[in-house]
Amino acid sequence: MRLHAVDERAAQLGLTRGMMLTDAKARLPGLLHAPADLEGDHAALQGLAEWCLRYSPFVAADGEDGLLIDATGCAHLFGGEEAMLARMESQFAKLGLKAYLGMAQTVGAASALARFGPPRAIAPQGGVSEALSALPMAALRLEPQVLLLLQRLGLTRIGQLYAMPRLALARRFRSRVAEEAVLFRLDQALGRQPESLNPLHPAPSFRAHAGYSEPVQDLSFLPEVLRRLSADLKSMLVREGQGGTRWTFRALRVDGQVAALSLRTARPVREEAHLARLFKERFEQMDLGLGAEYFILSADEAVPFTQSQGSWAESEEGGSASGQEEALAGLIDRLSVRLGAEALRLQGPCESHVPERAVHSRPALDGAGVADPAWSPSIPSAPLRSPPPRPLRPLRLLTKPEPIEVMAEVPDGPPMHFRWRHVPHQVTRAEGPERIAPEWWRLQDGVFEDVRDYFRIEDVRGRRYWVFRAGLYQDRAQNHALPGGAPSWFLHGFFA
């Protein structure tokens, strides 16, 4: 077993990462050690990255022990770059973490400065190469074998690479891979190669944030926080003529964890009252721990906001059409937020004659702006007495057809008796069969395995059912593999 990480004190006593545990214990018998929890570390780093959203909307984890924050345009909010780093250091210290900070124009240089540079190092504009020149080669984020190669060549400081002609450098390395790696990393650090960070969350369209000097622990204070943030956000959205459809409310806790709530709305929204209603249902799910001091509300997705103005002529009978639509969208939001987007559904027609594929059920929230193909009446209205294009469909369709025991008068005919859920039913009237075969592209080996003959039947008490016989009778009878060749029957739906 080897040491995975050592603290400052242990490092002073001469322990290093990668050392055998037995060696270390021989040197320091009183050594405290615990097994490394790599997954836990990873999760904690992700959590910490969320927590750093207070500094910038672009945050990413860097390797196993670093965080990258794109501070472009953010430093002035903290009173300059130095002040920002100082603030970060003290806030991390409050979490009990020692942060090594570095700031530069490129990701590579910032990472090198943070890990190997002086405390709170900032590479001045245009001075990146100078700032890096004294740092060891390890700061270039190279593989250990490449570092070993560089060491053998006598190259220990990054600055040594600057003066060296590229061709000469290429010649010295035997391995092309190593040479490319060194030059690539050097170019990245110096800004000759572009490198972008891969942020934790895509950039929100709009965000508002607020910090509190005292940690907020009481959930009942959250509506007030939300009201303040949504008012800020609303003014931004109004200015841009936008409304948000995806929202996240984050509470950055004092212990470095983040509690977040996300929700969607059916229509673009920017009213504080509406947001307050939606979030109110969910606040109780937020775990503020020992308190949260910083809050971010972001509209992660924004679309142009359509101004709603009802015509005055319509408003006489309680609310205009557009007001009604808005109220409906609000209702959809509320129900979906509380009971889950999957719970509230709308259905649209689908081009298929197979019953279960003829409808398309989708969450009502997804309906915003999507024009469904309209349901066209399959039965012409009263004056036209032409026969309908297809027999009637049931009002309720079972998700999965249920097997029933059937006695039929003639093999191909409708059932006479059937037993469903242990209850016998006597059929008095029947209509059918209506043969429904799967689409040809769904045929299996050219065999109509899933052909169904549907019957609309009514039992002696007047209950009306939709049942079907699976498979063609002749096929079944000829198929000796099936015992007795008896067809199987299913109940699929209910009529009024």
Partner: protein, 281 residues
């Protein structure tokens, strides 16, 4: 004073009393169309009673639940037509409805099926279907639906509702002038604050015009068990006409032996008083 005038003054008095009770209860106005003087069987139309704004209950035994749901869809279709006719400006979009049920009910009796609803005369594009986990969620959703003022009606399938919950729904429905329907299993006999309670039983369907062996227009045996500010309990067979979106009352079939068969003056020989319009194949 002749008997006739006494009768009218009596009915006028009853109407006045009913109106004042309705005012006290802040419920809906009394139905003027259903004076108590008419024979009960003919005087009131259950369909009209449960289209009033307010809370209504449909009950059925477990095995008749599908019939109750079918009846409810017919009520929704009638309401949709009614609400659509009130607001011709909004003809492009049919009025929206909420149908809330538990996941349990979907598993057992399936989900509302668009093509079938369309066949029954209900256009399903704005039917919000909610599959909730518990009865409590269903009731909450109904309350929200009534409050939102965006629906033409809300319907819930619930296992059990207490008096408090039904009173809340009833008040909300009256306040927002919207009908709200509950489908309840018969086995649950809690008291409720509903305006109307109908007991639904299936009934053999009407005659199919083209094929006498096939099921025809849907029929139910509807028993009015309770109607606040309405007529006394009675029982009637109703038929849904999906083309005109109307309920018809059907005279009892000749071969049907009902213990409490309503007596009408002239039962048409053996069949419906109003023949079902062209039934589709």
């Amino acid at each position: 004073m002749s008997g006739e005038t006494r009768g009218t003054s009596r009915s006028a008095l009853m109407a006045r009393l009913r109106r004042s009770i309705a005012e006290i209860e802040q419920s809906v106005p009394v139905l003027e169309e259903a004076p108590a003087a008419l024979p009960r069987e003919e005087g009131a139309d259950p369909a009209r009673l449960i289209l009033r704004p307010g809370l209504h209950e449909l009950t059925a035994s477990y095995e008749d639940m599908s019939a109750a749901r079918g009846f409810a869809f017919a009520v929704l279709a009638a309401r949709q037509k009614h609400a659509g006719a009130l607001r011709p400006a909004r003809k492009a979009l049919p009025p929206a409805f909420l149908w809330a049920m538990r996941l349990e009910e979907r598993r057992e009796f399936g989900a509302p099926y668009g093509p079938g609803l369309l066949d029954a005369g209900f256009s399903p594009e704005r039917l919000l279907t909610l599959y909730a986990r518990t009865s409590l969620d269903v009731l909450w959703a109904l309350e929200e639906g009534l409050k939102a003022g965006a629906l033409a009606g809300a319907l819930g399938e619930v296992g059990d509702v207490g008096l408090t919950e039904s009173r809340r729904l009833s008040l909300l429905a009256a306040e927002h002038r919207m009908p709200c329907w509950l489908i309840r299993p018969l086995e649950r006999k809690e008291a409720s604050a509903a305006l109307t309670r109908l007991r639904i039983r299936p009934a053999p369907s009407g005659r199919h015009v083209h094929d006498p062996a096939a099921p025809g227009a849907a029929r139910w045996q509807v028993e009015l068990e309770k109607a606040k500010a309405g007529p006394m309990p009675f029982r009637v067979t109703m038929e849904w006409d999906h083309e005109t979106h109307c309920f018809h009352m059907v005279a009892p079939l000749a071969d049907r032996a009902l213990p409490a068969a309503p007596k009408t003056q002239s039962p048409p020989a053996g069949e419906a008083a109003i023949l079902p319009l062209a039934r589709t194949g």
